[in-house]
């Protein structure tokens, strides 16, 4: 019976640990969503807060259906901080008929420009000029463009929401680590330090090679 007692105690400790982690809303390393190459996130935080009523497109814009039927669109937190601090320079102008995949926002990382694409077809009804050229602290409160769109529900299955969105952003942040290492001016230094996690600097882009923004658009902002 001693053997059974000790084994039960061993398994009990492991089970309690899993329960404690579940209560804390964390993953045990063995059970967290896996990624093919690296399992740690680049950012200090393990999770990004995802508002429940928001959808995410693969091009790192978020969408929200308003009560008046208009779709508010903004840039998600990942897009805002991926290569340092993003400032939005331009939005699609009011009255413009946007096709899915056309430029909806133009931003800047340092002195490099980057384009975000419209996730749906629609007509631009209003533009939030308050976000232009400013540092955005809460990306999900600060919409950039409101569209009148008829095909939101048709495209809904291509968007992420809830846990699916959370897991997708986590995978994107892991992919970003790979991206930064491969585009770093000092690959060895980036490779060694990236494994330890940490936060991105505001001028990450300055530490990357020249064509990094173009490659970033291809890898992260295409739909």
């Amino acid at each position: 019976m001693v053997a059974i007692f000790v084994l039960t105690l061993f398994l009990l400790f492991i089970s309690v640990d899993l329960i404690v982690l579940k209560i804390q809303g964390k993953y045990h390393p063995a059970f967290e969503p896996s990624s093919p190459q690296f399992d740690s996130s680049i950012f200090d935080r393990n999770s990004f807060p995802i508002p429940s009523n928001i959808f995410f497109s693969k091009g790192h814009t978020w969408l929200k259906m308003n009560n008046d039927g208009l779709i508010s669109i903004g840039i998600d937190e990942f897009g805002m901080m991926a290569l340092g601090a993003l400032s939005i320079l331009n939005c699609a102008s009011v009255g413009k008929e946007l096709r899915r995949g056309e430029i909806i926002f133009e931003g800047a990382y340092g002195n490099k420009k980057v384009k975000f694409l419209s996730p749906i077809n629609g007509i631009v009804k209003s533009v939030n000029e308050n976000i232009l050229g400013k540092k955005i602290s809460n990306p999900y409160e600060s919409w950039g463009v409101q569209l009148a769109s008829k095909d939101f529900s048709d495209n809904q299955k291509t968007f992420f929401s809830g846990t699916e969105a959370s897991n997708w952003i986590k995978k994107e942040s892991i992919k970003l680590k790979d991206f930064i290492i491969s585009h770093s001016l000092k690959t060895d230094l980036a490779g060694a330090t990236m494994f330890d996690g940490g936060s991105l600097s505001n001028d990450t882009i300055s530490l990357l090679v020249d064509n990094s923004v173009n490659d970033f658009e291809k890898e992260f902002l295409s739909l």
């Binding site: 045990h28 200090d44 494994f195």
Partner: protein, 406 residues
Amino acid sequence: MKLKSMNIKEILKPSFWKVVSVIIVTVGLFSTYFRFSLGLGATTNLQDSVPWGLWIGFDFIGVGLAAAGFTIAATVHIFNIHKYEPLVRPAILTAFLGYSVVVCLLLVDLGRPENFWHPLVMWNIHSVMFEITWCIICYSTVLLLEFAPVILEKFNLKAPIKFLKIISIPVVIAGVLFSTLHQSSFGSLYLIVPGKLHPLWYSSLLPIHFYVSCIAAGLSMIIFESYLIARSCTKEDGFCNTGLKMNILSGAAFVVWIALIAGILLKIYDFVSNDKLIYLIIPSMETSLFYLEIIIGTIVPIYLLSYKKFREDKKWLYIISICVISGLILNRLNVSITGLVASSGINYFPSFDEISITIMLVVLAIFAFRLIAKNFSVFVGGESEEAASNISAKKSKQIILSERYE
């Protein structure tokens, strides 16, 4: 020297496991006090007919799980398979802490602990216990020498590191010899009780079985620990920070698979050649525990490890490592307690003090492992151990960079 990670505020911040650990250690310290003030008779359920109980069982478990120390060191430094180099330091640390727990338990278990030094000067070369004592002392010293560079690196003491590197190969070879000797001699210890140990476990091959099973369990322990340390780093870092990649863990799991197959073949040969198959169909508690040991610790892991998709899957690798460790726990306790208690005619179950002291020492070992792993370059991600100090320097720089970014 100020250690960056040893932030007092962080250490004092309460968490579930910290509170549980403090309770366990406090209770354990009281039990230790009672053990030394009142004696073995008053605080344990050990008797003349059952002189070895939970503590001896745990000694076997601790030594068995520490076996990765010599396995990995030999693989990397003697057989030159450098793929497994990132496992060397955690394996040696595990072995050292495992042996430290064993030494502490032996001191608690000795009726006259103040006489612990007697085997060093009063040689009884015909005793298995004499060999075990000497091997444990010598191997603990070897482990200390093997792990010393990790500590010295932190304080940038280059001269002693250089000296330790010069003597490293003879030290590793000595470590392999000592651990091979006493891992198997734990099995030899039970060869002297053929009439008392249950036939399901008694075998003339017991030393070989102990040796083979400790290789599988020791490597599984390293896999389990890599998750343990990743779990403790999850908050600020992530699994990758341990420097242990899944391909390395999967490689170690493959060796576990080979060792488990060797172990079961050995067992089958033993049962067939010694006509012991009859004992497998006699209904008894011993038979049930034997089946449990074989199914959990051998059959299930062999089946799962035979599939590459399970070997390379984080979740399954964790489950498999738990199974193999459970198998070793059952085996060593079955040999040291279950298999002997039946013949003694006494139903032994450890006392509260025995249990609390044991758990306290395990908790302290886990705490020490976590503390050392977090503050020294134990998990090195580089291709060579020599690069560890450079990585350590880069890590220091990264901490400063992170502060600036924050």
